[in-house]
């Protein structure tokens, strides 16, 4: 589904990623772990198409198509979803209106009709219930005054609504208490199928207790220095990152 080949990315002239190779197939969960500053968030931003990140070399193929020249919205239309580490607060637009706009923009781009209001409402209710989100929350301004946990839950709610092929969860576990963490992990697990894939970007192993990865990769100084199965996450938790460098 996603093939990253020798990816080099810089921001304002400073090299952050120095040759990333990664292969994610449908049905898989990959965890990318690494210390602060190793380039984890840069990788997620580059896949989602943030224009502040300059791709200097390499390719990103999604479902066989090179997506480097595509705008962020075009990548979203093809089924890429990024759960933001720091979701942006947007006063003046409600969660509901935002998600409706998002869904209909995606449908329109794929040449499909807008979702009828009734169906939309039903889906919103269903997915909100999955993530144990109060309906009052949906009529609030997007992320404005939300707690860290509410923001992250709202991201996964959007993921549930959009049903992407590839979800990148960028530090989704940070700011979540254990109960919220379980709710979010449970939500992602329920959305998981043989047709979609998830990349979990995290510093810690604790989310991986609930969301079990097929592969774990360790990122250090902009390169994947070690890959393995889920047991690698436990090893990192015990020994820290120093032994890997």
């Amino acid at each position: 589904m996603l093939t990253i080949d020798n990816l080099h990315v810089s921001i304002e002239g400073k090299a952050i990623l120095n040759g990333i190779n990664l292969d994610v197939r449908a049905g898989e969960i990959h965890a990318i772990m690494g210390p602060n500053g190793s380039g984890k968030s840069t990788l997620s931003s580059a896949i989602a198409g943030n224009e502040n990140y300059q791709v200097d070399k390499g390719d990103i193929l999604f479902k066989g198509e090179n997506i480097l020249e595509l705008a962020p919205e075009e990548r979203a239309h093809r089924g890429i979803f990024l759960s933001f580490q720091y979701p942006i607060e947007i006063p003046g637009i409600t969660v509901t209106n935002f998600i409706k706009t998002s869904i209909n923009s995606n449908l329109k781009a794929r040449g499909e009709n807008e979702m009828p209001a009734k169906k939309m409402l039903k889906k919103i209710r269903e997915k909100a219930a999955l993530l144990e989100i109060d309906s009052k929350f949906l009529s609030r301004s997007l992320n404005e005054g939300f707690s860290g946990g509410e923001k992250k839950r709202n991201e996964i709610f959007q993921m549930a609504m959009l049903e992407p092929s590839l979800s990148i969860l960028d530090e989704t576990d940070s700011g979540l208490d254990i109960d919220a963490l379980k709710i979010v992990a449970n939500g992602v697990n329920k959305l998981k199928s043989k047709d979609n894939a998830v990349i979990i970007i995290t510093h810690y192993q604790r989310l991986l207790d609930y969301l079990i990865p097929d592969y774990v990769h360790v990122l250090h100084e902009g390169k994947i220095v070690k890959s393995g199965g889920k047991e690698l996450a436990h090893e990192l938790e015990e020994k820290g990152y120093d032994w890997i460098k």
Partner: protein
């Protein structure tokens, strides 16, 4: 003939034509003298530094419309708030239109200025309130006072909560090649009473219209007033709107100004706090394009302790449009424990659009909380990426963010149908048609 001379020379005929024995005869006479002395304001004056009236004063305005014009409700239905019960005080080319209006004398007065000025039973009220809060040193206000004849007259007695809002609309039909209008409104809300007003100036023509309006509002003890101004006129119309609000103890007055249209719009919004524990709120959304100009000059005079004022103005400027925000706050020495907040945020969408924003604080008390903030910028790039990453195309994302920016000012609008209407206008202005209920 230049407009100034035309106005001065018409004054005698004007007074003869109406009623020389009017209780406000001497007020009118003094006012025309003041205008004669001051003339129209020019850019040499600090308060008019960024706004020149020259481009609207050159037209040959008819100062009194000769014909009485009738318009059909169907033609103007759109300018009323939909699905709402309201009182209506409607003027066409400066004259009261009884067919479009719905006035009341049922234990209160929701009617017209000409009646209040001419009928003996109102003379006591007129003496007490007329021109008592308006600034008689201001040239345009004086000009309006001199020619004051028609407008809305609203008097809400004690302990009355008006169950439906009042819509005041001034239509211009274009029966004259160019027309000057000078509506004069007087609104008195007695103790423990509540009132909502929606006001609009709307030209139905491309012929130039210049409106110089004066509204005096007296909010007595414990009263609540919500005043909404919809300024979405055609590009050939200009408006100078002078509003003077005099507040008594525990009163709460909010003015929302939605400025989306017109060639030149100047709002002089003045609050005078005449007693303790008063709240004054000013909110504004300005969205303009082309070479439109909107100028907000606000004044809050905190003259007593324990009062508050809140100002929140947002502006979005495209094309070669110009915005002005000048917020003056005076806190007298005795006005301790004053809270005065002022915020003016602006987005410039084009290189050629301009905003001049200036807080003007004169604080003579020492135990006060005053803050002011002004921002001028473009859209937040991180927010733009967030929306785009959710599949919303760049153009729509920009429009949506701009909409969201303006939308925050609407939270305090109490009439849902009005809020909906304004949101619709904003969405249309910004090209937001994203298929959801605004």
């Amino acid at each position: 003939m230049p407009l100034t001379e035309k106005l001065i020379s018409s004054f005698l005929a004007f007074e003869l034509d109406i009623d020389i024995n009017s209780p406000i005869h001497s007020i009118r006479t003094n006012a025309i003298k003041k205008f004669e002395e001051l003339g129209f304001p020019n850019r040499k004056l600090e308060d008019w530094k960024y706004t020149s009236l020259n481009r609207i004063l050159k037209e040959d305005y008819t100062v009194f419309s000769k014909k009485k014009n009738v318009i059909d409700f169907k033609e103007v239905k759109n300018y009323f708030i939909d699905n709402i019960e309201s009182y209506k005080i409607i003027f066409v080319d400066g004259c009261f239109d009884p067919f479009l209006s719905q006035i009341s004398h049922n234990g209160l007065d929701i009617c017209i200025m000409s009646a209040a000025l001419n009928k003996a039973k109102y003379s006591k009220i007129i003496k007490k309130f007329f021109n008592k809060s308006a600034n008689s040193e201001d040239s345009l206000t004086s000009l309006n006072t001199a020619f004051s004849k028609e407008g809305a007259y609203v008097h809400i007695p004690k302990n009355t909560i008006l169950e439906k809002p009042i819509e005041i609309i001034h239509f211009a039909t274009g029966s004259e090649a160019a027309l000057m209008l000078q509506p004069r409104n007087l609104i008195i809300v007695e103790e423990n009473s509540e009132l909502e007003i929606i006001e609009r100036h709307q030209s139905l023509t491309v012929n130039p219209i210049f409106t110089n309006s004066v509204t005096e509002i007296f909010a007595q003890k414990n009263s609540n007033v919500d005043y909404y101004k919809i300024q979405n006129d055609v590009i050939t119309s200009s408006l100078v709107d002078n509003t003077y609000i005099s507040q008594k103890r525990n009163s709460d007055v909010k003015v929302h100004t939605f400025s989306f249209g017109g060639k030149l719009t100047r709002n002089n919004l003045n609050f005078y706090q005449k007693d303790k524990s008063i709240e004054s709120t000013m909110k504004g959304v300005t969205i303009i394009d082309y070479d439109q100009l909107v100028d907000h000059h606000t004044l809050v005079h905190h003259a007593n302790p324990n009062c508050e004022s809140h100002q929140d103005y947002k502006g979005i400027y495209s094309g070669k449009s110009t915005g002005v925000f000048n917020g003056k706050i005076i806190v007298d020495k005795i006005a301790q424990k004053t809270n005065a907040f002022q915020q003016n945020n602006n987005i410039l969408l084009d290189d050629k659009s301009t905003i001049n924003s200036k807080p003007q604080l004169e604080i003579f008390a020492d135990d006060v909380k005053c803050s002011h903030g002004c921002t001028i910028g473009q859209l937040d790039q991180d927010a733009l990426f967030y929306l785009r990453a959710r599949g919303i195309p760049k153009k729509d994302a920009k429009a949506l963010l701009t909409y969201a920016f303006a939308n925050t000012v609407l939270q305090s609008v109490k009439i849902p149908e009005l809020k909906h209407k304004v949101k619709k206008i904003i969405a249309k202005k910004l090209g937001v048609s994203l298929g959801f209920d605004l």
